[in-house]
Amino acid sequence: MHTLVDAHGQASRSALNDPKWVRVTLTSIAVAFILLFLCAPLVLVLYQAFSKGLDAYIHALSDPDALASVRLTLLVAVATVPLNTVFGIAAAWAITRFDFRGKSLLTTLIDLPFSVSPVISGLIFVLMFGAQGWFGEWLSAHDIKVIFATPGIILATIFITFPFVARELIPLMQEMGFEEEEAALSLGASGWKTFFLVTLPNIKWALLYGVLLCNARAMGEFGAVSVVSGHIRGLTNTLPLHIEVSYNEYDVIGAFSSASILAALAIVTLILKSFLEWKQGKG
């Protein structure tokens, strides 16, 4: 775009070009807000984590309970993300490609985890699988532990994170229509080939974006997991729970060094997210 220059040699202002003081004020407010509420806490986390030096930081992270919580968090993510990826693709496919009864209900239900408080999400599983829950008797009779054990944490995390992939894909697939898939079928491709050769390449960036957000939430979820985990050290504490426990026990270095891992995860997520958005925008 080139600027129009009027007779006095000054760049003429377009309708949306507000006076300078407006622009400066609005920009300053936004920047100040971000510094105060986003950057300052992040710096503080790192400051606290390293307040006793690098050795203390490394020592805190190599604590067996801290390591166990990292392992459990990774396990939860590995179990949750693929399942929700498959679910998200299936749901987006069904909603955008088929007409069926209850389609709008399904669309609404996908958003349920976003509208329900995570604590309630956790409680649902306690009510279903806890000792006094619906399946409690049957589970204890067969010696299967769900609540206060890894399965419960995974279930709660699946519940919390299942909208992410579907919500990225549905608008995109709606906008794309299905002519390309019909074209592939008319050329003799099977359903699977059509999916892998035509659909998947078209949705891949949005899919990765959804997976990324899903993963970030799966690793960072606190509320629902806190309800079902039982906070057993070294066994059912995920990274966010480990941070809370450490902090409550005045182990500041332990809490903040673990928190720095989650903060690093957030930054990596952010960078990947911008990359994916850029990729999506391009094609």
Binding site: E179, E180, E182, A183, A184, L185, S186, L187, G188, A189, S190, K193, L197, V198, P201, N202, G283
Partner: protein
């Protein structure tokens, strides 16, 4: 491959898109499915392709019942209205797609595929675009690539949904001609959907006129034009003057050449080129005046007006060659003698 449709019906909810359609298309024809929007022509095409299943009726290709056959096994080539090129693949990969997805046993080697794709791209005169992506092509180029892609699997039937609908007027003219030539070269049975009667008449060897989910008439373009089966076809194909004949208004039309003895209905359709004019002398009792005319290139369109008649029958449109109009030396407001050479009667 010949196509036979028997008793095809299709409903979308309460809406009857197609109602008991019977259609026979002999091998090698280039057929236009012509009708106003919403008449069911695209649905019919999609049913032949297998992209849509009829609620009732059968689709026979070469005498075999293919109603239950999946689209990927029907051996058809389908060209979509908006081309539906695979946006993440190059032109070459788009055209090669149909060959590459064949089961291992039938799949040709990459060398054979490359040769075939190149010859198809040459056929559509776009060999130099092989490495481009669809969004780098113009509308007309995409259309031809979509056609090449459909032809790659050597379909027995080629189906085209509004093939020229999304193109500029000038590109459209060229492509019509090109499609007709291509059909003469390949001789594959082809059906295309259009709402443009001029396009149908120009390109097709057979025209099928559809309206409200039913076939109104099928025939060669000349037959449909000269002998429309009903008022809808007459109105839809070409220009026509529609005269609601009531006794009061009849007199001047009779004197203009419509014979009351030949009438078979309440409505007379008169093609503009079936109206001839003479300049009337000043004291002629002809009531018709020349109101205005428009220059359409080779022909002149003339608006005639009868001030003694009230309502819809007071205006007539005539058309004649440029030369003849010059000879008549007519001006606005001149009295003219009208001679209606032919009329079609409908109820």
């Amino acid at each position: 491959m010949s196509i036979l449709l028997s008793n095809i019906s299709k409903n979308f909810g309460q809406f009857a898109a197609l109602h008991n359609v019977n259609l026979e298309i002999p091998e090698g024809e280039l057929v236009a499915l012509l009708g106003p929007s919403g008449c069911g022509k695209t649905t019919l095409l999609r049913i032949i392709a297998g992209l849509e299943a009829p609620d009732q009726g059968q689709v026979l290709l070469n005498g075999e019942d293919k109603t239950a056959e999946h689209v990927s096994h029907r051996g058809i080539g389908f060209v979509f209205q908006h081309y539906a090129l695979f946006r993440h693949m190059t032109v070459f990969d788009n055209v090669a797609f149909g060959l590459r997805v064949k089961p291992k046993k039938e799949r040709p080697s990459e060398a054979v595929i490359a040769k075939k794709v190149q010859s198809l791209l040459d056929l559509v005169q776009l060999g130099w675009l092989a490495d481009r992506f669809p969004d780098q092509l113009s509308g007309g180029q995409r259309q031809r690539i979509a056609l090449a892609r459909a032809l790659a699997v050597e379909p027995n039937v080629l189906l085209l949904d509004e093939p020229f609908g999304a193109l500029d007027a000038s590109v459209r003219k060229d492509l019509r001609q090109w499609l007709r030539n291509l059909h003469q070269e390949l001789h594959v049975t082809s059906i295309f959907v259009t709402h443009d009667q001029e396009e149908a008449m120009e390109v097709a060897s057979q025209v099928v006129v559809l309206n409200q989910g039913q076939i109104e008439q099928q025939g060669a373009p000349a037959e449909i034009y000269d002998h429309p089966a009903n008022a809808f076809v007459s109105k839809f194909i070409g220009q026509t003057n529609i005269l609601n004949v009531e006794q009061n208004d009849m007199a001047w039309l009779v004197s203009a050449g419509i014979s009351a003895d030949n009438r078979h209905g309440a409505v007379a359709h008169v093609r503009p080129h079936n109206i001839d004019l003479q300049k009337a002398s000043i004291n002629s009792d002809s009531p018709v005046l020349l109101k205005d005319w428009q220059h359409l290139g080779a022909t002149i369109r003339i608006e005639l007006f009868n001030p003694q008649v009230k309502g819809g029958n007071s205006c007539l449109f005539a058309e004649m060659p440029n030369e003849r109009f010059k000879q008549l030396n007519l001006n606005r407001g001149d009295k003219v003698v009208v001679n209606i050479k032919q009329a079609h009667w409908f109820n």
